[in-house]
């Protein structure tokens, strides 16, 4: 019977690796969208394969973390919420993968005049996810600083909403040359991109509640 086990170090590494996967996934997503908008389908497919590998690894790590936490009875009181946090964070990388897949499958016809706006929207939405990752890391080390870290997540989520509304307004009110089917398709693609910041905001809300509980 081992009295003092050394599972904590391994588990912390798995948490870090999981978050690294999500973080890198967001970078690859940005590059994937830019590649598509620049017409480089080969690069898009390369980025998609990369993001699929990251997502698969994140899923594997998530299962391992959950298994280790149950088997070794780690953080018994916070465990349910930590599982929820992992699950919702994993949804971010899932969304990035699905979005890039939509681009490869549906090949949306984005007007040249909107391409810069799509890049700005992608940047804002992915930035919300970017800012979330350090906040999650902070929860595990200095939970009383989580709220400060999350301010930028909320900022980029608002920014994404604003940009999305702006682009949709242009599509539906200022671009009569586009038929309704194309407009609807563009709106659908916009929803996919802004989905990342929505997921990041949902994780941020959960993280705020979790941090308060730990501090109390």
């Amino acid at each position: 019977m081992a009295i003092f086990k050394r599972t904590s170090g391994l588990l912390i590494n798995k948490f870090d690796e999981f978050l690294d996967n999500v973080e890198v996934g967001l970078l690859v997503f940005r590059e994937g969208i830019k590649s598509y908008l620049h017409g480089d389908m080969e690069a898009l497919n390369r980025h998609l394969r990369k993001i699929e590998a990251l997502e698969e690894n994140a899923d594997k790590l998530q299962r391992e973390i959950e298994n280790d936490m149950i088997v070794h009875s780690i953080l018994p009181k916070e465990r349910v919420e930590v599982f929820r946090l992992l699950d919702r964070t994993d949804e971010i990388i899932d969304t990035t993968k699905h979005s890039l897949t939509e681009f490869t499958v549906e090949v949306p016809d984005i007007p040249e005049s909107l391409k810069a706006d799509f890049i700005r929207l992608t940047e804002a939405s992915a930035s919300a996810g970017d800012e979330l990752i350090p906040a999650i890391r902070t929860y595990f080390t200095t939970p009383y600083l989580v709220r400060d870290k999350l301010i930028k997540v909320y900022f980029f989520e608002n920014e994404t909403d604003r940009l999305s509304t702006e682009i949709k307004t242009r599509i539906f009110q200022q671009m009569p040359e586009l038929d309704l089917a194309r407009k609807a398709h563009l709106r659908y693609i916009l929803h996919h991109i802004e989905g990342i910041s929505d997921k990041a905001q949902a994780v941020a809300d959960l993280l705020t509640a979790m941090a308060i509980k730990v501090i109390m």
């Binding site: 904590s8 912390i12 009181k77 595990f140 939970p143």
Partner: protein, 347 residues
């Protein structure tokens, strides 16, 4: 025949193990930080070590309260205390083995006409108050220190929990040692003046009569831990105030410190040696010290979520236990002496 007479003490030891081990490992096992198996093994080993190596100090104090000099008397006194502890536990009433044995000894004193040493009694009763107060004070200080360290160090939550888990094992071992050292007097103290066993030379250690009795008592406590403490451990910790893992560590540590302070002969000698007053070597109720410690943390956290009704019940048990044990002891001695014609006291 001697073995037959000490069965009442062993029964009391079993009850103590079944109940009081939960004070040491209850929070850790209840919150699934440590498995019951691991807790039971550690507690059993260290409770026996504490009883054999450091159990004499508190036993001497109980001897001063009332030197039960006939083995029939020792048997009856221990039985009265055991019956009190067992029946109060069965009725879900908070009970202290220490108070039960003190009440039972006073019952013997009254029955046999021996005077109760007022100084020793005052010393013991004072610790019923000072023990929990000291436990609460230690708990507040240790909790503040731990919180300060946690905030400053910025350790990963999982690593910090691993430290707490290891801390619970180490503090639990220390707590079990202190419990054995401090509370063995409750179990075997009344037999020490009445039984004289030949010394056993183990080569590296010679076990005197008292230590052999303490060893047997320690085994009885260990059996109580292994056979009956699981349920108590799994339900403890949420009664008065729900404990976090770090609060659980603080409670175990402060309880262990208090029990150690009230039972360490070496510490008492050291303090006396440098001209400082030492604490009396008195058996303290581990349950009451735990309650004091939990209360301390509860007060520090702003006294929210405290179960005041349960605290009232505990305070009532504080007064009722020695009275009930004294009465049971008095009438049992009458019964044993007159019905079974067993000598309960040598004039």
């Amino acid at each position: 025949m001697t073995l037959l007479f000490i069965t009442s003490g062993l029964f009391l030891g079993w009850s103590l193990g079944a109940n009081d081990a939960a004070n040491i490992f209850g929070s850790a096992v209840g919150s699934r930080m440590i498995t019951f198996r691991k807790a039971a093994i550690i507690a059993s080993i260290f409770v026996i070590l504490g009883a054999v190596l450091q159990g004499s100090g508190t036993s001497d104090t109980l001897g001063k309260l009332g030197a039960v000099n006939a083995i029939g008397g020792s048997f009856t006194v221990a039985l009265a205390a055991a019956i009190t502890v067992y029946s109060m536990t069965k009725s879900s009433l908070p009970v202290s083995t220490t108070q039960a044995i003190v009440g039972a000894i006073i019952g013997w004193n009254i029955y046999t006409g021996n005077a109760t040493d007022a100084k020793t009694l005052t010393q013991i009763v004072t610790t019923w108050i000072s023990g929990p107060v000291l436990g609460g004070t230690f708990a507040i200080l240790l909790y503040m220190l731990l919180k300060w360290y946690k905030k400053r160090a910025g350790i990963h939550m999982i690593r910090f929990e691993s430290y707490i888990r290891n801390g619970l094992i180490i503090a639990g071992a220390f707590g079990a040692f202190s419990l054995g050292a401090n509370n063995i007097a409750n179990v075997m103290g009344v037999f020490v003046p009445a039984i004289d066993l030949p010394a056993i030379d183990l080569g590296f250690l010679t076990l005197g009569s008292g230590q052999q009795l303490f060893f047997l008592g320690g085994i009885a406590i260990a059996l109580g831990i292994i056979t009956y403490s699981k349920r108590v451990m799994e339900t403890v910790g949420s009664g008065i105030f729900e404990l976090s893992s770090e609060a659980a560590l603080v409670v175990v540590l402060s309880q262990s410190l208090v029990l150690f302070l009230f039972s360490s002969v070496a510490l008492a000698n050291l303090l006396n040696g440098i001209g400082l007053p030492s604490l009396p070597l008195v058996p303290v109720s581990s349950s009451q010290v735990v309650i004091g410690s939990i209360l301390g943390i509860g007060l520090y956290k702003g006294a929210r979520n405290m179960n005041y009704r349960m605290l009232g019940g505990i305070a009532l048990g504080w007064i009722a236990t020695p009275i009930i044990a004294g009465l049971v002891s008095f009438f049992s001695l009458f019964f044993v002496e007159n019905v079974f014609e067993i000598i309960v006291a040598i004039p």
